[in-house]
């Protein structure tokens, strides 16, 4: 059934109007992350309960690729591996509607709608933390511990949210600093007390 659904996808050609709309309203990133928090937690929990041997093998392959990409410091390989890892968990949830919705959401957000993933992975400390979070999800799913898997997946999304929030605030601060440094162009410097 899963194969039947994905065969309809020509992923790179799926442009939904919503993607453009979200892209021009960066604040909706946080709505997306709230939504993903629910789906990620629920699907990790269900995957821990329900994954078949075949699905567990796919999750393992995906996780090994995540580790390898992280070691190579190759952000675009990391991004692809990350995506496949999460999709393998959605697929193991045994909920066809959940898998369909989240696959579409991933496809829709493919083109760096909310943040530049390369930059995201490249930030100091982020790579190690992301890897540790993926490992926590992986371990709990493989140990068939639903509650732990749900919490691990939720933590992962919360971390992304916090990091995004911090970097947005950092941009605003950078913009303020930039404008201050250009002050000389707007005022008569002689009048300004220093």
């Amino acid at each position: 059934m899963t194969e039947a659904i994905s065969s309809h996808h020509n992923e790179e050609n799926q442009q939904s109007p919503l993607a453009g709309l979200l892209k021009s309203h960066p604040e909706t990133a946080f709505d997306y992350l709230e939504f993903r928090f629910i789906a990620a937690g629920m699907s990790a929990q269900m995957a821990a309960e329900r994954a078949s041997e075949k699905e567990r093998a796919r999750i393992t392959r995906a996780f090994e690729t995540v580790v390898a990409a992280s070691e190579m410091l190759d952000t675009s390989a990391e991004y692809e591996a990350d995506r496949e890892f999460h999709l393998s968990i959605y697929a193991a949830s045994h909920n066809a509607v959940m898998e369909h919705v989240m696959r579409n959401v991933f496809v829709m957000l493919h083109q760096d709608v909310f943040y530049d993933r390369r930059q995201f992975h490249g930030r100091a400390g982020v790579r190690e933390l992301l890897l540790r979070q993926h490992k926590a999800i992986y371990d709990a799913v493989m140990a068939r511990e639903p509650e732990r898997a749900r919490r691990a997946a939720e933590n992962h999304v919360l971390y992304i949210r916090d990091t995004l929030q911090e970097s947005r605030v950092a941009e605003q601060r950078a913009a303020v600093a930039l404008r201050r440094s250009g002050r000389a162009s707007l005022v008569q410097m002689n009048d300004v007390e220093t």
């Binding site: 059934m1 039947a4 919503l18 941009e171 404008r179």
Partner: protein, 304 residues
């Protein structure tokens, strides 16, 4: 843009462009003060209305002249704005006017419909399982975030449902419609635009199916009253701002719906099986009068 080191979001990217092309002095003087073209401002306004759900997929806009009057802009500016939005896939012209497009596109709905058709009823349960978690959270946020107007809407839809419940014992479809509106108003009150659009697109795709399920539920004795009580619990929790209670009530409601449908399906299956058994035990071609009567009996089958 993808490879730009400074494109963490649009504003930052814009800042990077400005930096590369201008001197530091230019930035303070020019950044963000360029006035937008009127048509772009109109397009942006309409876009926001679509994003926040004030305009819904399938809505038909006013005729161009009336809309231009309403927005207090010239017709050429409006025309240009509508063209822009059509290019972005947010509007489409069809018979008799301009319509708001489905936001998630055909790639979302077509495979979903096919899946539903080939895997009924298991996809219905999948849908309800998924919805249980999402709607619990939507109710939670609605209790936290609803403005006075949102609360009024949730309340109004509940009253409509209650009235339909009291008045039309014989016609469950009005109550089922009010039920749909009530749930949409919760997604709106949650002020999470992602949940609103994904779940309402999903709802639209499943509309026929959901209606079928709802009427299936609403025709069962006893179930209808239980559903109303559950909706009341969700309503009360949202209006009183009790987020945890709202989550619990919404989850309980969707879980009940799922369990009740399951029981109904099981009962129908049992009935079907026993009907088949009876049919196969009847000598002859199996099209006897008794079978017709038995088959008719399934309509009166009650869950409780």
């Amino acid at each position: 843009m993808k490879n730009s080191p400074l494109s963490f979001n649009r504003a930052y990217h814009h800042m990077g462009e400005v930096l590369r092309n201008n001197t530091m002095e230019d930035i303070v003087a020019r950044d963000r003060i360029r006035p937008a073209k009127l048509a772009e401002a109109v397009a942006e306004h309409l876009e926001s209305l679509i994003l926040e759900g004030s305009l819904r997929p399938g809505d038909r806009l006013l005729a161009e002249r009336d809309l231009a009057n309403k927005l207090d802009v010239s017709r050429p500016s409006l025309r240009e704005a509508l063209d822009l939005l059509e290019q972005r896939g947010l509007l489409q012209s069809g018979r008799g006017g301009t319509y708001v497009s489905g936001l998630l596109g055909d790639g979302f709905s077509t495979p979903l419909l096919e899946m539903l058709e080939t895997n009924e009823p298991s996809s219905t349960y999948d849908y309800l399982e998924f919805r249980g978690a999402v709607e619990g959270t939507a109710a939670y946020f609605a209790a936290l975030r609803a403005s006075d107007m949102d609360r009024e809407m949730v309340h109004a839809h509940f009253l409509t449902m209650e009235a339909a419940h009291a008045e039309t014992e014989s016609d469950p479809s009005r109550e089922a419609d009010a039920d749909t509106d009530f749930h949409l108003s919760i997604y709106e009150a949650s002020h999470n635009l992602m949940m609103l659009h994904v779940m309402s697109s999903l709802g639209d795709v499943l509309h026929k199916d959901v209606l079928y399920n709802r009427s299936k539920l609403y025709t069962r004795k006893g179930v209808r009253a239980l559903l109303l009580d559950q909706h009341r619990a969700v309503h009360d929790a949202i209006l009183s701002g009790d987020a945890e209670a709202a989550r619990a009530a919404a989850e309980a409601h969707v879980n009940f719906t799922k369990a009740a449908l399951h029981e109904i399906d099981k009962a129908d299956n049992r009935l079907e099986k026993s009907l088949r058994r009876i049919v196969s035990n009847i000598p002859g071609d199996g099209s006897g009068q008794e079978i017709l009567q038995l088959a008719g009996a399934s309509d009166d089958f009650q869950m409780d």
